[in-house]
């Protein structure tokens, strides 16, 4: 998985609790992304980062926040988890510029009860 790890790999949490998912890369790529994957929707972009402390929203950003304090780490936080946020979350990295390929991590399965 191209030097990308995600933690935790599985998590069950209760509605209303905060949750933080971590993505760590060893490739020194500039761009990092968070997606969620749901049946019938494919992969949808939540937030992405184009550098340390530089982030922007994707198409489904409501209820999520991100932070990137180091090149190698990109954190996704659900401030108050809801059942609609039950999903599989994937982190991806890319060199950016003219190099468009995105490399995906193994995913985190999150269940909100």
């Amino acid at each position: 998985d191209a030097g990308i790890t995600q933690s935790p790999r599985h998590k069950v949490t209760e509605t209303g609790t905060p949750v933080t998912l971590r993505c760590h890369q060893t490739e020194n790529h500039r761009y990092m992304y968070w997606y969620r994957q749901d049946p019938g929707h494919g992969l949808r972009l939540i937030h992405y980062s184009y550098g340390v402390k530089d982030t922007d929203k994707g198409e489904v950003s409501d209820g999520y926040s991100v932070s990137r304090s180091k090149t190698e780490d990109f954190l996704l936080t659900l401030e108050s988890a809801t059942s609609s946020q039950t999903s599989v979350y994937f982190c991806a990295i890319s060199e950016g510029g003219s190099h468009y390929e995105q490399y995906f991590g193994p995913g985190t399965r999150l269940t909100v009860t």
Binding site: D1, G42, L43, L45, F90, Y100, F104, G107
Partner: protein
């Protein structure tokens, strides 16, 4: 709003047959069209990609056909094998603006032996 429309949702093909998955897009600013392959429990991985200045790209048994005027592109898998059974996603990116991938909803391919 689904910017990249993918069909069919699922596909069953006999071993040795041809698998065909179709995608259509609206945004003429898209300038890179990758296909990703995803096996159960794994993150998506880049399979093959094309830029709009060519009409076809072939890599082994996998071919992308691209019709710029119709804003359509398709993946052909020749001599389909049981090991090709996976979910396939088409995608598009506007590298000049946001470098964000927009995914189709996916096609679950089953190749029967």
């Amino acid at each position: 709003q689904q910017q990249v429309k993918q069909s069919p949702q699922s596909l069953i093909v006999q071993k040795g047959g041809i698998s065909i998955i179709n995608c259509a897009y609206e945004n003429t600013a898209f300038d890179y069209f990758p296909w990703y392959q995803q096996f159960p429990g794994k993150g998506p991985a880049l399979l093959i990609a094309i830029r709009p200045d060519v009409s076809e790209k072939k890599e082994g048994r996998f071919t992308i056909s691209f019709n710029k005027s119709a804003k359509q592109f398709s993946l052909h898998i020749m001599d389909s094998q049981p090991g090709d059974s996976a979910t396939y996603f088409c995608a598009a990116i506007d590298g000049g603006a946001t470098n964000k991938l927009i995914f189709g909803t996916g096609t679950l391919l089953a190749v029967q032996p």
